[in-house]
Symmetry: D2
Subunit: 423 residues, 4 copies
């Protein structure tokens, strides 16, 4: 596939001109092009194992041909994405959907694609066949101690599986909460959750980190135990130094200033992970950058500034795409997301931080906006393409994916009706 990609790149006659022009223009504005390109090459995003098939809603699901039906096939799909983009260098597994029967074989298969294992994800929001206790009324928060113990044990097991694959972190997303006023005691469920998290943390290897995700609603429609970043931060702080907050772009109430939250977590040294997607209404799980690209840019501005000036000792961030693919080819959808992420990152890298700081200090609001727009309005696609090219990936991943007829091959191999586990 590497060769095919190189062939495709060779046919691209326009990239060199665009890149030269962009380099030339940005150099006049004192941008260090080579540094930016290196940063773009280095940026790696995890692909979740559950996002490689078609997603659905409660109203139904429309399948997509050639979906991967085994963990090995999922890894192969991430391999395709990584070959095409050079920036999908890891996979994030979901247990119990992805329990490897032979961890070392799986590790080898991943290594053959240049892929490592990012955070593992536990699942206590569904009941698995034959499960002793039900999570219908919550897991780590449940009033019934036996349910909590089962959920804790599951998390311990997930960590063990992660260890066998080289993961170094666990993401805990809890659907726990209630659907009607009165159904749950806010304080008791919160207290149970705090204790359960401490229990999980206590058996975590000392080089591991725990990421605590928050979400205001869905699947519970009245109250969620960890409803916002404030609750997550509070719990992370109580749990331990290696417990952090994970921000998922879609997990906020309407009109939330997410970049302010990101910045506050960086300020406290507690930002641990980041789930990319986009949305217009709720947790819509759309392609990154498809609805609010400027918001993504503003968030990247905080992330870049925070990483470059990490005074509060935040860990290296666990980046992941967490989207659902209802109407697009899942692999094409992920290629569009990876592209949008790198474009936003590149734009944020172009912001003249020193100039911005001065304008802020002088309360020159007009200049502050001009500085952001100067970066945002720049066409950075040549920079991103150059980074991909240098990494041996495709200048234009989607065109290449289509030219190489990859989906057609997958359907031939796996059939029109294979089905991936996932939502």
């Amino acid at each position: 596939m590497k060769d095919q990609i190189q062939n495709a790149n060779h046919k691209n006659l326009i990239h060199t001109d665009s890149f030269d022009y962009t380099t030339n223009m940005l150099s006049k504005k004192n941008v260090q092009i080579e540094k930016v390109i290196t940063q773009l090459i280095d940026f790696q995003v995890a692909i979740p194992s559950w996002a490689l098939g078609a997603g659905g809603t409660r109203f139904g699901r429309f399948g997509y041909g050639g979906e991967p039906s085994t963990l090995g096939e999922k890894i192969d799909d991430v391999g395709i994405l990584h070959a095409l983009t050079g920036s999908a260098g890891s996979i994030s597994l979901h247990i119990p959907w992805d329990i490897p029967s032979d961890p070392s074989a799986i590790k080898e298969r991943a290594a053959s694609h240049g892929i490592i294992f990012d955070a593992v994800n536990s699942n206590t929001f569904q009941d698995q066949k034959g499960q002793r206790k039900s999570y219908k009324y919550g897991s780590l928060c449940n009033e019934d101690a036996a349910v909590r113990e089962q959920a804790i044990a599951h998390n311990h097991e997930v960590i063990k599986i992660g260890e066998s694959l080289g993961s170094k972190s666990i993401t805990v997303w809890l659907a726990d909460g209630s659907t009607f006023p009165g159904q749950a005691s806010f304080r008791r469920t919160l207290d149970h959750t705090a204790n359960s998290l401490k229990n999980i943390y206590s058996e975590m290897p000392t080089d591991w980190r725990m990421f605590i995700e928050y979400k205001p609603y869905e699947p519970n429609f009245y109250h969620t135990v960890i409803q916002d970043w404030g609750t997550s931060l509070m719990l992370a702080t109580e749990t331990g130094d290696r417990a952090h907050t994970l921000v998922d772009l879609g997990h906020h109430l309407p009109n939330t200033n997410i970049e302010n939250i990101v910045s506050t977590l960086i300020y406290k040294g507690r930002l641990g992970g980041f789930h990319f997607n986009d949305s217009k209404y709720g947790d819509d799980d759309l392609t990154v950058g498809s609805i609010k690209p400027y918001q993504l840019f503003l968030i990247f501005n905080e992330l870049v500034a925070g990483m470059e000036n990490n005074t509060a000792d935040n860990p290296p961030l666990a980046w992941m795409i967490d989207a659902s693919h209802n109407v697009k080819d899942p692999l094409e959808d992920l290629l569009q997301s990876l592209d949008a992420i790198l474009i936003s990152y590149a734009q944020a890298l172009l912001i003249d931080q020193e100039k911005l700081k001065n304008a802020q200090i002088n309360h020159d609001v007009v200049a502050c906006q001009e500085i952001l727009h100067e970066a945002y309005r720049t066409d950075v696609r040549p920079l991103v393409a150059e980074a991909r090219k240098r990494a041996g990936a495709a200048i234009n991943p989607i065109d290449t994916y289509r030219d190489l007829k990859i989906r057609e091959s997958l359907i031939l191999k796996r059939g029109q009706h294979s089905q991936a586990t996932g939502l």
Copy 2:
């Protein structure tokens, strides 16, 4: 069951006192108690056939024992609700989930419970097994004429089935829309939809009505063709005199003033149907009255005023509960919804409309609020209980349902793992 209910009623020692006190107090305020009770007895709400089993979300579903697995069993369940409340006198079918193999047998079974058939509902938001064309990219709005024709034909068939059962209306809810900017042409999809609706309407019996539902989002997460009441009214007006707008409480953007919409539709003579539920975030489909009971009261104020002063010739409203039951016994959930509806209706009937009108004309805002609160803060449960009692139903439906161990019987008969069709 009638006898068991009467027995239960006889054991209720407190109702007579409460009803006497309430009658006494309200009479002093010139309320015509007997008229109110008659109105409460007459009020009938349709139960949708798809709401008798456990609902779920895209994250999973937790089943409930004893769910009805055939249309006959669904009718029996509505029969239970009607026996207990006296106000669930009709069922609203969903095609293709509820196609009767023997319509007259089904009609008889319903009649034995005192139940008739309300609006029928078509389904073009899912693909059925073996379906020729897919609705993945829309049905009545689809760019492909063959898909539109298939969807129109389905609606014609739904009307035919409805005719065989005595229904007099069809509710068209469309998921049609798009999930990403650019995916669809707003104008072309709207135009296709307008023409498709006209086509369906043209073959509708002349004593039938069409209800056009609207919804801002879900399952499409960018654009919905019929996104709001304005679009629905526009289409209904173009379609014909017997096309009306249907309002579902959960189908609105955050903070919408729904009572104003209801009132405007009444003003134009185009309000056709009403779907009850409650929600905090989106189309949460929660028990009626569980989140915003005051909003429900304000809506009923418009409905009562509109029905009593129907200058624009609105048809009799098609009332239906459209909720989903994820964490409660579906029948108990529906009993709570029916109770909440009658309570709101009773409160609205207590509003002194003449006094309110005078206060409005005099811009006495404080008095306007006092008049509404006077009605809303009254404990009307004795009136609702009396209406049920006189209708031969249970003074306290939920207690009676539990005392009679109805769920236990259903589980014995149908098993712990029977599953109803639905969402």
Copy 3:
């Protein structure tokens, strides 16, 4: 006025019957009526000095006759409210609008009405005439140290004024933030704010408390430094043991579960104050209970449970009404708010907490809802009226206010065009 109120009460022929019936019914349900009434009598809400005249919007303001134009007159107005309700026993001052020239005279005037001084409020969101530095770009968060110092000094002064009147707490509400992306550094403005608050706290008397208010937006329309409870809690924790979070009902994004926030703050022992109002869209500052009375009840449920089971050592809560009166007589508006507060409180006191806890532990969701509705649907107005009657106040405050022609007297005394300071 006391006598006039007693006379009015004597004319009320219906209260005794209602109260007897309510007592009788609730006693059968094991409610300790006398305890409830005592709790209602004891409940005192502060009236803010800036809410006694007509409010306005950026589009204009319509004045109201007889507005108080001096601090003394404002205190007299609160005196009227307290005489009529028995529950408006304190006033919350706003500096610089209410600087007393003679504190002991002002204290005496308040004492003559039975009124004490609740939390004092600083104002760094407006520029006062002749002010050296402008707050246009923020106060405690400002990039300019001189602005921050001026704002800190103002807070110190406010505390001094409060001390002279017997206040024991200061409420800090900051408009600080930015209106455009890029305008401000989130981290620097947050850090400046944290340091400024510590500075103010350090000079606060040791028996004082600081309440840190949060608000997502307005008057800044992009970012607010203290945008949510999480930020407030974080700052309060860093600032000191006597720093607490203040919750204003109107300061939340759409669909926020506020009762969960209240509960979490109680869980952490950091809930300090509470501002009552109601809203449909944003910080609408409407009459308490006029839009979402059930939400208010759910919040009171948490407050009652928290106060009765205060394991985390929260201070006694500072209750205040923070509303704006654009279209109603301000005093009538406040009477309606006080009534709504007591009604919600009474309903919450009726919840059978033990039964609720059992239903929660057994995951009997239907029962949980029934228990809440049992309390909420009870007509508690006779209890609230009885509490007022026993406190020597009016059974029906609004009727009495109108019968006594109080507004007419105020207009006679103060004129049709007097104007109160405030928003």
Copy 4:
């Protein structure tokens, strides 16, 4: 000033290179550059007379030096904007703030700047000094016929003033509504409004158009008579052929799909005017393009497609900026808005509509998104700058405005504390 601008342009050494590159690149993609530039030159946006001074919120206002205090000075300010951008060729007046004492002198002054008079705006949301009847409880919707008559007469007068200046349309924005449930009868206030609009329309010159604006809330916080586009369209249709709906970007509930509304109005031939601004929370009135530039692009996509394919006979659109300038120099703020509008327009003009239509028809969702992103991610600033340059305006308006020290001159001439009328 023309000369100064030319001098500034000559110093710009980078524009020619950028423009050549852009022309070259886009030509390869079959864009007709010259056509695009002509369209950009022709695009004219009205400046509202009330947006030339500092705006404020209900919490206060921070003035800006050199504000225009007469209508003549306001016209001069628009002249500055037009000289710098070539695209601010008209002014929209607000009555009674801008009643010209000598219309022909005012027309001449405007003509000297190349400025004409766009839609006139009536004001019935505030009381003017000495006004006979108050609009506190509404104007065209008021229960009191005398208030309605006064408001209608005011609109007639506004039209007369507009005629004297050459305007051809009136924009009616009504604050009419209610702040509390029960305060107003939805149906009566709607009916009064419908009749009042018909009355105003009946005396409108036959070559005039009426634009009916809608808004969900503020300054009323419960109900607004014309709350959404559906109500506006309904009223416009009833009123007459020359009555149209006006869309203000900030007048929508959270998450509204505005581009769908725009498209539907175009479909019906009823889109009349458009007010540009941006917002994150409500009607924030921020600089165009400062918060959601992609949404603006999507709207322009509909506007461009609608104008090029105007099958429903929409009138030429009345474009206006309707923003408020709380923290920026008002003129710089407007320059940023004008720039953002032209950038969005240019991006929308680059969309390959034919290719997009084909992708839509083939349900190639990925391609649809790529086509939009291809246009949106292009750096179109060289095209916009070239259009300005050719129109004799500034390549870079803000830099030129600052270099020419225009604000400093205005302050010298008008003083630091002059104050413009407006919000």
